[in-house]
Subunit: 131 residues, 2 copies
């Protein structure tokens, strides 16, 4: 029984510079933020999520360990891992920080590339409409 819902299992980008464990971590935070997983409900097991993402279980272990260190989840050996109380609020904050960081990086590159305001705004609007 491993129906892992809600966009957690879309294929990862293994060619990305962003480490796989970070992509997974972000997805879980985003899922908690939109309350796809409510406080005190179970997240997918280490092995089932690893299977669904076609990733080594150890990678999921690392993700869950990190999230537990941030106190966003807690785990019960033999039972599963669960969303912490108030995790949703903190994930909603994290969510903005994560997107902001990516946008900052893009803007920094644009600045270095010497794009002027008009070029940048045109590019932005074009890409926005595509997605």
């Amino acid at each position: 029984m491993d129906a892992v819902p809600l966009g957690l299992t879309e294929p990862l980008d293994f060619d990305s510079d962003v480490p796989v464990y970070e992509q997974i971590s972000n997805r879980i935070k985003f899922a908690i933020a939109r309350q796809a997983y409510r406080p005190d409900t179970r997240l997918p097991s280490v092995r089932s999520l690893a299977r669904n993402l076609v990733v080594n279980p150890n990678t999921i272990v690392r993700v869950y360990r990190d999230l537990e260190q941030e106190e966003l989840i807690y785990s019960k050996r033999g039972v599963g891992v669960f969303v912490s109380p108030q995790a949703d609020q903190r994930c909603r904050l994290d969510r903005l920080v994560i997107v902001e960081e990516k946008l900052r990086e893009a803007l920094e590159v644009a600045r270095r590339a010497n794009l002027n305001d008009k070029e940048l705004e045109e590019l932005w609007q074009r890409l926005r409409l595509q997605s």
Copy 2:
């Protein structure tokens, strides 16, 4: 004599997920694009650029090797490395592709984060005004 001008020597971001050699490579492309280095003029030597960027010479070797493979530069042993003819045109194209790629990544994360149009646009405008 190693006055390397024109933003090639600003400190790198060693904490970035983007590899150092890629950051350097992009900077050189941007510099060529804005004709800070004209076709058939010399780029900084391997060792001087390495010194200025506080990076191992082998890292610069890799950057120059990659750029030469793209035929954006050519090297003369014992003399230096030089900008290829028409490299500036191709770098101006590359420049847009590089920025577009970063913006796409940011938009993809924003989509996953479930940001709505209003939140995204507000964030964008806020960050734009900061820089």
